[in-house]
């Protein structure tokens, strides 16, 4: 019992951060699967979702502002794609990547302007922000809820991709961009849908993340975004189950390392993992085998 009481908090924190990374990682991996583009602005979309909740919550009750902010984040993802990536569809891949980096800084600086540089605090969400006790370990209810929410959303997402028309179109596009276009798949709407879904998941992830760690600054999306990206690469970029498993592994390992007393190296671990994966398993756990040209 004593052992459980001592170590359970690390495990709980690990599973919940893992779930949050997973929701962000899906956005990276889906966009990569379809466009072969790393959407560096994704972490900032995650931050924007939180800011929208904070600002809207001061005007309206939370049960309206939360869904509203989630929808608005979807719109933001759509807008980012239309503004920054669509005009570059025929340009070399590197151009779109630079555009993504530019977009990321643009969003961060806009947020800096809006917030005035001060940390904003996420409003406590009733029920999920409450403290609870499990086997003697104190934590917030959101810690327990996160993995379940993540799993439910992933099951829904996988079903969308498997059975709906848009899902079939997505798979077709990710398999072969040009052929899918020739077959009459509306490329632009498929890509938009991908961005919208990724952003919605990031928005839900942001609600879960910031209910637990309440401070929101313009650069707060950076670290979780990077780690989610590492998770996506670890799991095999382009693969949804891979991204989710990668995210949970990273979240849990990170917290165990902190618990062992090596707090200084908790971030270093994540990035060493990235290097090791790229060296020995370039396609990750579940990635497609590299058959295509360089």
């Amino acid at each position: 019992m004593g052992f459980l009481q001592t170590n359970l908090p690390y495990l709980l924190a690990g599973i919940s951060t893992g779930g949050q990374y997973a929701l962000i990682a899906i956005g990276y991996t889906m966009v990569y699967g379809i466009l072969r583009l790393i959407n560096f602005a994704h972490g900032d979309v995650f931050m924007c979702a939180a800011l929208m909740v904070i600002y809207s919550a001061s005007y309206m009750p939370l049960y309206i502002s939360l869904p509203l902010a989630i929808v608005a984040t979807g719109v933001l993802g759509f807008a980012i794609e239309r503004v920054a990536y669509k005009p570059l569809r025929t340009a070399p891949r590197m151009s779109a990547m630079i555009s993504a980096i530019g977009m990321s800084y643009l969003i961060q600086n806009l947020a800096l302007y809006v917030t005035g540089g001060l940390t904003k605090y996420y409003p406590p969400v009733p029920f999920i922000s409450d403290s609870i006790e499990i086997f003697g370990a104190m934590t917030k209810r959101v810690t327990i809820i996160t993995p379940f929410v993540t799993l439910v959303l992933i099951v829904v997402l996988v079903n969308i991709i498997k059975y709906t028309k848009i899902g079939i179109a997505m798979r077709a596009v990710s398999r072969d961009f040009e052929t899918a276009q020739l077959m009459g798949v509306k490329i632009n709407s498929v890509i938009s849908a991908t961005f919208v879904i990724g952003s919605l998941l990031a928005a839900i992830g942001s609600t879960l993340f910031f209910s637990n760690y309440t401070g929101v600054t313009p650069t707060v999306g950076g670290m979780p975004g990077l780690k989610a990206f590492v998770a996506a690469v670890f799991g095999g970029i382009g693969s949804i189950p891979g991204a989710v498993i990668g995210a949970f592994i990273i979240g849990i390992c990170e917290n165990i390392i902190k618990g062992l007393g090596w707090t200084t190296f908790s971030d270093a671990f994540t990035f060493v993992l990235l290097i090791v994966v790229l060296m020995f398993m370039p396609t990750g756990l579940f990635g497609e085998k590299a058959t295509d040209k360089v």
Partner: protein, 396 residues
């Protein structure tokens, strides 16, 4: 041709920027102008604190907008830059001040950025007066940097004594931010003093960009510590308090002057987390100079919506605001005594400048550090969300 035009345009804009800061000796109103640089963070980790410190300077400037140097009345113009709490952006901000021709510089909040900019000021021969940068390295070996606050070896020792005397602590948990001169320095001095008093310390650091403090709080609990010492930035402070509250941290939190902030008050209000800090200034004195400052500043906040927002939305006075207020008057004293607006002249007479401010008497020692030997200890009243004065602590 197009390229040529583009290049010319860029050159034109660049030259406009370069020459814009050129001569600052006279303003449109015909009055002579002396420029004082305000080198403070307005964004990043220390944005909230920097803004409060700037407020003190702005308020002092609002009530004393002129200074008489050698019989001529000068208008004091504040040149405010944002060093973004970041050591690598700090130098750019410092160069901006230099190029705008400031006579001397006040700031910064946060030692790291002050250390980073020290050489820029020294090589441009612009003297700087640190307001609340408490790390010894700020003034060490630099004749151009002075400061009006106490130092970390002193503060760390005071906190160690306080932990031992008030809480009877035998084991402490110390948490610093990796690569942050301020918190790492304070932790080291605390550890040294606390171990000399016979205590034990668990020391850990967290990397930049951390928002998950759950594991650190758990480590402190599992380590069987009696106090949680974390003199980190306010941004991290709020998250640590939140996490301490969630996990029901059974020990008091101790911190340095940074935590004397409305952000900390707001985070701790309505929780059961006990927080004590050492600081430079305490409200509630009956001294006329202090009550004038307190009342005047509250009136200033009430009449100025932007100032109120920068103060965190209420009219609690942070110690850094009082320090900023004092720093401005020390600067005016220096200008008067030097009888010149030239940096080199001011630097010559700075060691002899003294001033009685709202935070106490200010004088410099041979390093350019303030001569101070007491710190105030304050505690958060969790029910009202206000500071409670605890004691005046000195080193034994």
């Amino acid at each position: 041709m197009k390229k040529l035009i583009a290049v010319l345009t860029v050159l034109l804009i660049a030259s406009a920027l370069v020459f814009a800061g050129g001569n600052g000796e006279s303003s449109g109103s015909g009055k002579k102008v002396v420029k004082i640089g305000v080198y403070e963070p307005a964004s990043g980790d220390n944005g909230a604190g920097g803004k409060q410190e700037t407020l003190g300077i702005q308020y002092a400037n609002a009530i004393t907008p002129t200074v008489t140097i050698n019989g001529t009345e000068y208008e004091v113009q504040l040149v405010i830059v944002d060093n973004e709490s970041s050591n690598d952006k700090a130098v750019t901000a410092a160069s901006e001040l230099v190029s705008k021709g400031v006579s001397l510089v006040l700031g910064s909040y946060g030692s790291g950025v002050s250390i980073a900019a020290a050489d820029t000021f020294a090589s441009a021969e612009v003297p700087a007066i640190g307001v609340t940068c408490t790390n010894p390295q700020v003034t060490l070996g630099n004749d151009w940097y002075y400061r009006i606050c106490f130092l970390d070896p002193f503060q760390g020792t005071v906190l160690a004594n306080y932990a031992k005397d008030t809480f009877g602590a035998k084991k402490a948990y110390a948490l610093a931010k990796l690569g942050d001169d301020y918190s790492v320095g304070l932790c080291n001095y605390f550890i040294k003093a606390f171990e000399a008093l016979g205590g034990q310390v668990i020391y850990e650091t967290f990397p930049e960009g951390t928002s998950d403090f759950a594991a650190y709080v758990t480590n402190a609990k599992n380590g069987g510590c009696d106090v949680f010492y974390s003199p980190v930035s306010i941004e991290a402070a709020a998250l640590i308090i939140e996490q301490a509250n969630t996990q029901g941290l059974p020990m008091p939190i101790l911190a340095g002057d940074t935590w004397d902030s409305n952000v900390v008050l707001a985070a701790a209000k309505g929780t059961n987390v006990s927080i004590s800090v050492t600081t430079f200034f305490v409200e509630g004195s009956t001294d006329k100079q202090i009550t004038d400052f307190v009342d005047g500043f509250k009136g200033y906040l009430a009449s100025n919506a932007t100032a109120l927002t920068n103060n965190g939305g209420n009219d609690e006075i942070a110690a850094v605001t009082a320090m900023g207020f004092d720093a401005y008057y020390v600067a005016l004293e220096a200008l008067k005594k030097a009888g010149s607006t030239k940096g080199a002249d001011i630097q010559k007479i700075l060691p002899g400048v003294t001033y009685k401010g709202v935070s106490g008497d200010i004088a410099f020692d041979k390093n350019g550090d303030a001569v101070r030997n007491v710190a105030y200890v304050k505690k958060v009243d969790n029910a009202t969300g206000k500071w409670q004065f605890v004691s005046v602590q000195s080193v034994k």
